[in-house]
Symmetry: C2
Subunit: 409 residues, 2 copies
């Protein structure tokens, strides 16, 4: 394997033309689309239109004429197609954290006799914090039970209201067997809630085939919706009437402009919307989602697996620098990023970013490299690993400035 | 009074030059800045920069280099200056509905022995719905007590945890005596929470001089932050450590990237942030807020009062069409919009909008006309009332198409 071979792989890549759809800054190998997806070229123009025409000229009229009011459902229906859901089962709204709170609260209320939210220690921190914040608010017997991954199925008992898991582990990139764990939850009478933040756009997800009850996910990673893009949530149709959001904002009312004294939830999943939708952010999200609707999803999965395999194979050739692959080596068991362990991971990543290879750091000792199938090339993998090798050999990471902690890593 | 006299008033208006700072479409008299503020000309360029440079080129690095991570606190500190708060007492985050939920829940928890949220029947619907959604979630003795405005002070008893009111009535534009009601709440040991959605940018607000405890407000009305702009919340410094958001998302953690197993709230008001901030929407909001920091606020108040007075005076000259001023005639008692009652208000407003005068309708029989001091001219008031007169005289409103209900009114 050499660089020319990677160039040849790019030449044969059936998805190669997608790179041109995104802004890919010169001199940068971007391997952090798992944290913030790259900018679709169409986004700036679309936002400019929404700002100047829809807001500037249309003003308040655009809630009707530009269909702003439908954005949560319209974009939700599009996201549904990427995660195995039906139209009317997904809305784009709020943040992942807020959506998780809404659905966990609704689940806790539905199964009021079951006090436990079951999750795993390795869950993404905000998912743990939100669950704990909810049970602290509810008080009484409500509790979050946090167990190791291997103990999840055993911990499912008839006190569990909802099993809440992130599908893809943000650290290792391994992922749960969604149908199996969902079925295990159902057999004990619990609901299964899946956080798809690292899943949609990274690997195939089929919520309905998995019989999933609830799901949330973010718009700013593989979906390319922009920094802090609106998130989404899914409620399987069979639960929509029974589940009620605790955040009963006017945009989830059956008739928001009826100004009724009593809250009357909108039919279907729309009742999970709370406040006024953030139209500018929604417009950017919709551009990213619209692109994904045109993607051959199995082909994208195959490519991201091949990129990850190549990355691991090349990292394995770096000898003597304490690198350890912290992700499944079997591509079938890995989502779309690879984590590499190193005792100086933070500083190595800082130095690598200054060398133009952008990944990220996860405490205490992981470097993450994400492989967004739409704009990552095989040659990028080659260049990234060569520069990683250089940073380690040159000890560029040892410069004192790289010890300084940044707010976001 | 005639049109020339209005032109002369505009010529003498010390705020006249502000109109040029906003997009004001040709042929439109925009009197709905109380619902969606006009577009600042600077916003499109700023957003384009954020999209192309900060997101497109800076990518994930911009969380640090473009200070995205500070946006909730930075913009909050700026909004603080418009509402009589100190730096570190306000964050820009989430929607008004979500912020209201967070603060009401925190207040209910703080005063756990006091089961009542007290509010008034005339409160904005989402404020009522959110309070009821919260008490439904909490169960037990928790309840929302909804009384008529005149009965509020009498209803303050030692069962009230928080008095939650919208400062300016969305319908009539009248406003509460914030210092007096806050004091009344405090004398009974309750907290006072103010929704400033129709206040900031419309009339002077001094939260700290009023001894207010908590506040929320939206960014998309007078603050010109864009459709569905992020909202803000205020927690008086004396309550910041005692109050805990139930929405304990990672961005409210003391060390979001420490990935600690336990939630450890950030110091100060920052703990009220939940998920990842929506950077594109925040950037647009910041443009609007930055403009307001340069405005002579008392002058803006005087102008909006004068515009309202002129509007009422001119509407009074329309005879025989069942118009009724549904707002205080005394400008000292009125915020920045005037409501006009008419039996066919919905259809009259639809026809008026087609005549190029944009206000809005509030069920069952109110037309609202907002006077945004920065871009509304005296001559706009003249033209608006003349066209209202025309719509009534010509019965243009009787066209059947205007009976059809729009999603947003």
């Amino acid at each position: 394997m050499d660089r020319d071979a990677c160039v040849e792989l790019d030449r044969q890549d059936p998805l190669a033309q997608w790179r041109d759809v995104f802004e890919c800054p010169e001199g940068v190998v971007y391997l952090d689309g798992n944290s913030l997806g790259a900018l679709p070229k169409a986004t700036a123009q679309r936002l400019d239109h929404v700002v100047r025409e829809e807001w500037g000229t249309g003003l308040i009229r655009s809630w009707n004429t530009a269909h702003w009011i439908d954005a949560p459902s319209r974009i939700g229906d599009k996201i549904a197609r990427l995660i195995g859901a039906e139209p009317g089962e997904v809305v784009a709204t709020d943040s992942t954290s807020v959506n998780l709170f809404k659905l966990l609260a609704a689940a806790a209320k539905l199964h009021a006799g079951r006090p436990t939210i079951l999750t795993e220690a390795q869950n993404f921190p905000t998912d743990l914090y939100i669950a704990k914040g909810l049970v602290d608010l509810l008080g009484g017997a409500h509790a979050v039970r946090v167990v190791e991954r291997a103990d999840l199925e055993r911990a499912l008992d008839d006190r569990v209201a909802v099993l809440a898991l992130t599908h893809v582990d943000y650290a290792s990139g391994s992922f749960h067997d969604m149908p199996r764990l969902t079925d295990a939850a159902h057999r004990r009478g619990a609901l299964a809630l899946w956080d798809l933040s690292h899943s949609a756009g990274a690997l195939p997800v089929d919520l309905n085939a998995s019989q999933a009850d609830l799901a949330v996910g973010c718009g700013y990673k593989y979906l390319n919706g922009g920094p802090g893009a609106p998130a989404y949530l899914f409620v399987a149709r069979r639960w929509q009437e029974a589940l009620r959001s605790p955040l009963t904002g006017w945009m989830g009312h059956a008739d928001p402009f009826g100004f009724e004294a009593r809250y009357r939830p909108a039919p279907g999943v729309r009742r999970q919307v709370a406040g006024t939708p953030p139209i500018l952010a929604m417009a950017a999200l919709e551009v990213g989602v619209d692109l994904w609707l045109q993607v051959d999803l199995p082909a994208a999965r195959r490519k991201s697996q091949a990129l990850g395999d190549l990355f691991i194979r090349l990292v394995d050739t770096i000898d003597g620098f304490d690198l350890e692959i912290a992700s499944p080596r079997d591509a079938a068991l890995r989502a779309s990023h690879v984590a590499v362990r190193h005792p100086q991971a933070y500083r190595v990543m800082r130095a690598l970013i200054d060398e133009g290879v952008i990944g990220d750091f996860r405490t205490p000792d992981l470097m993450r490299f994400g492989f967004a199938a739409l704009y990552t090339r095989y040659v990028d993998i080659w260049d990234a690993v060569r520069r990683l090798d250089h940073v380690l050999r040159s000890q560029a990471w040892a410069r004192p400035e790289y010890a300084r902690k940044l707010a976001v890593t």
